[in-house]
């Protein structure tokens, strides 16, 4: 799942994202970012989340756990 954090960092335009980083505290956590994350999860892992699902997840690590549990095997 290392590439997950790399892809997330790319979308957020930061150098790196750690598991305990709070998503909503990133400078670029806006509607465009949310859409880009949803698309990345769909195309990269076959995980289809909604913006509402995403809002329930606080830290990057929680999102990683959801992706890990639901990703295309």
């Amino acid at each position: 799942m290392d590439d997950f954090y790399t892809k997330l960092a790319e979308i957020l335009e930061v150098d790196r994202v750690a598991a305990d980083d709070v998503l909503s505290e990133f400078e670029y956590w806006d509607s465009l970012t949310v859409l880009s994350v949803l698309a990345m999860l769909d195309s990269g892992y076959g995980v289809n989340l909604t913006a509402a699902n995403l809002r329930e997840l606080k830290q990057a690590g929680e999102l990683a756990a959801v992706v890990e549990s639901r990703k295309r095997k």
Binding site: D30, V34, L35, S43, T50
Partner: protein, 360 residues
């Protein structure tokens, strides 16, 4: 729901766009967002130029302008029009139907069928289905399908969710019998429980427009819009499209027994470049076979983007060649529909400008 039609074709297509053009780089100053984020949005979504009607221009103005061109150039004989279907969500008036207004302005014959259909991004597919159904009647030999919207007039210039992508346009398609054994496959699905994903809250009977519904409000994401304005839940629409469209296309091609590789063009509704490219990737369709360039040049004019994609990308080849194409529309309702047909040897297929008021 699956449909099969025989002996039908689109024999001509004219798209009409307002000459008046908006530019994202100028307009982004209206948005309450950092400049670099707006530029990122431009890059990802493909926002650039879009065509917007001048104040006061209505659907019937665009439609009558285009139909007069066809009649004056003898590409269409008004006496041959047995039915006029108008697909729009931005009618001139609540009543009468705008198709009746167009009929009256052009002085068309009385012995015909005028029909307004309230449909959005899937409207072109729905309009074609209705045109084909009418052509099952012997008395109906030629149907004019007008798909037109001027939704920029219902979009807040301070709404970064919707304004950069909106465009106004009309298309006129002539539908008639093909005179051959060609088969057209189509399918259509609807889900009214998700109808609030795309809506204009005020202006109907439920919530009539008043000075209160015209007040701009910050809806919680920095965008300002009124209840009179179009409201789109962008991420819900994105999820809807990614979830429903690929299986719909798979089912359509399955019913027709046509592999993806045998389709020359995938001419889909054009919400923005991002969504279309994600769709193409998910369905493993070559980006070159699925044009996604309508929004950056003209904006998203709802259902009209399908005929726009045809006129902008396939003309003039479509006058002499013939292609196997897959159309798909998805949006308001929610509604999603697709169609597999042979398109070509058209009598006309062009895109023209509706002049600005200062021009002669």
């Amino acid at each position: 729901m699956n449909f099969v039609f025989r002996d039908k074709r689109i024999s001509g297509l004219l798209a009409v766009v307002p000459a008046n053009e908006g530019n994202f780089l100028d307009e982004m100053q209206n948005f309450n967002f950092p400049k670099n984020r707006s530029l990122k949005l431009k890059e990802v979504m493909g926002y650039d130029k879009h065509r917007l009607v001048e104040s006061g221009v209505c659907v019937s103005d665009l439609a009558v302008f285009g139909l007069r061109q066809l009649i004056d150039r003898r590409l269409l004989d008004p006496a041959d029009i047995d039915a006029l279907i108008l697909v729009t969500q931005s009618p001139d008036l609540l009543m009468p139907p705008t198709s009746s207004i167009i009929q009256g302005r052009l002085g068309l014959k009385h012995d015909m069928f005028c029909l307004d259909i309230n449909q959005g991004c899937a409207g072109y597919v729905v309009g074609l289905l209705q045109a084909f159904l009418l052509l099952e009647q012997p008395a109906v030999r030629k149907v004019v399908l007008v798909n037109a919207d001027v939704l920029s007039r219902k979009t807040s210039p301070k709404d970064r969710n919707s304004f950069p992508l909106i465009g106004d346009a009309a298309s006129i398609s002539v539908i008639e019998r093909a005179g051959d054994d060609s088969v057209i496959h189509a399918n259509l699905k609807m889900d009214g429980t998700r109808c609030e994903a795309l809506m204009i809250p005020a202006g109907g009977m439920r919530l009539p427009s008043t000075s209160a519904t015209a007040v701009l409000e910050d809806v919680g994401d920095g965008n300002l819009r009124a209840k009179d304005h179009l409201r789109m839940d962008g991420s819900a629409v994105f999820n809807f499209v990614q979830t429903e469209v690929p299986p719909m296309i798979e089912s359509l091609l399955g019913a027709a027994g046509t592999p993806i590789a045998a389709v020359d063009w995938f001419l889909f509704h054009q919400p923005n470049r991002f969504m279309l490219q994600k769709l193409a990737d998910k369905m493993q369709i070559d980006h070159l076979k699925m044009p996604s360039n309508v929004v950056e040049h003209f904006g998203n004019s709802s259902g009209v983007t399908i005929p726009m994609a045809i006129a902008f990308n396939l003309s003039p080849r479509i006058l002499t060649e013939r292609f196997r194409v897959c159309l798909a529309g998805f949006g308001v309702g929610l509604t999603w529909g697709s169609m597999l047909l042979s398109l070509g040897a058209m009598n006309f297929c062009e895109l023209i400008d509706y002049p600005n008021s200062a021009e002669p």
